[in-house]
Amino acid sequence: MKKTAKSTVITLVVLIAVALLAPVVVGLKNNYMINILCSYCYFGILCCSLNLLLGYTGQISMGHAAFMMIGAYTYGILNKFHGVHFLIAALAALAVSFAAGLLLGAACCKLNAIFLAMTTVGFYKAVSTVIINEGWLTGGANGISAIQKWTVFGYKLKNWQFYYIALAVVLLVFLFCYRMVNSKTGRAMRAMCSAPIASSAMGVNNNQLKFLVCGISGALAGLAGVLYAVTNSYLSADMFAKVSVQTLTMTVVGGMGTLWGPLFGTLAITTLPELLRPFADHLDGIYGVVIILTVIFMPNGIYGFVRRMVQKASAKAKAKKAQPANAAGKKGE
């Protein structure tokens, strides 16, 4: 059975240590950088959400930002407009985005490939339009502003403290994905992705599975939306305009259908705008070129590339180990 390799554990420990120290390194009062660190967290969750759906189960969702919006707005509306406690509002946001995911599930059962893709794009547009126009519910074009930070036992959390909560959540989500993918359900997902007729013949209820995965994916995206709302304290529909493409890029560039993929993808794509600050005007174009180059030259994403390099390195190391023995043998002759 799967045993976690020692190298994987070491890598994980190092990454978590870096993540824990990050706020200290950038400065606890540096709200700008703290918010970026938080964005790694909620985009990481969003990427996991899409990876489960697209990478593992093969269902196309090109408007995934819709679920994040639904989660964020449900939270914002309940918490800001109606004074609901943040935990209850968050849970409600999860429930509503899960339900929205079920709608996607219905579409996945009926449609495939390009038809599903365009339906999800249309869904995003529809949700977006409703949010902009139904001001009485959502604040309309003005959005929802001044969303409160969380208060625990009367103590109002500072930004960097909220970061640790977001970090804990994203680590839990990664754990969730790990356990889900390695379970009977995970195998059924991958089987259905590969050969749906065969998976059905092996006893997998394909439609039920689609609903389940879509619901979970929607809920996770909604969770990302909640964290987004609290981090940015402000919501408006146009903030989500590029999120769908970004998430798709993260998922594909990181390495679809792998557990490390979302990590690499999120780090790469979320860092890119910051690295390319001097080229801010050309950001979109560079973005497009990055997508195309990655897809051509790194077909299994960054994770696939890293793995190939590691395999090559360990093959070389093995060859080197064999050499001294040969040399000694030769000397002996």
């Binding site: 339009t129 890029t249 594909v252 979109d284 560079i286 973005y287 497009g288 897809v295 077909p299």
Partner: protein, 291 residues
Amino acid sequence: MINFLQALISGVVQGSVYALIALGYSVIYSTLKMGHFAQGEFYMVGAFVGCTLFTTWQLPVVAAFAGAALFTSVLMLVLERLAYRPLYSRPAMALMMATMGMQYVVQEIVRNIWGSDVRRSDNVFPDGSIQIGGIVITVQNILIFAICVALMLGLTVFMKRTKTGIAMSAVSMNRKAASLMGVRTPTIIMATYVIAACLAAVAGVMMGPIYSVKYSMGTTFGNKAMTAAVMGGFGSLPGAMLGSIILGVVESMCNLYISTAYKDVFSFIILVVVLFCRPRGILGKKSITKV
């Protein structure tokens, strides 16, 4: 009643323009089995080129159309060679991602050549209108509709009667068999892209004056046209035309009776209803998987 007919007419005209782009999507999907998400951007390129040729350089209308078609075709072929060609044998997701990245690349190219400002383009059609009953039909409406219909008919004849067109159908059904029969696949691929590019360019030149020319105009328009193509049956040329007319009329009716803002919601609802009844689109072909 008059309002209804007026809206119907503008819907049909708008739909016929969508059709030019939708046909591009469907022709590429039919021959190459790929969804070319960047198609709308070439409509935008056509608009820019047309604007420059017609408005800035004051060349005759025909030159504007021809120049736009030429420029767009060349651009598309170059980009196809660089970005799509390496991906034809890879899983479909890779190609799809490349076309999505291409959207940004094309926008960037246009921004570097023409800048980010919005441009006003002179109308390529003469002013004037006719009145029937209480309904006003502009010369522009008539000419746009006529050009679109002519192109659609031309394309249909091309696909059914010419050697290249028939070869394109053969490649769409079975690429390997077609190439074994002597069909030069690279030529067919080139022909497919050129057709799509030209149609999109013509649409761009026509619509530029109406919508004003900016680098973001391709995304929305492309999306709508793709939705129309999907609704009619992706890969089916009559389907693309049918879906586009339906979409144009639906949007027009929504503008009139419900609200302008909810156009997209309404189109989405119609799309969902159509796809739930016919998951492959109205005229889409059912593919039977042999077990």
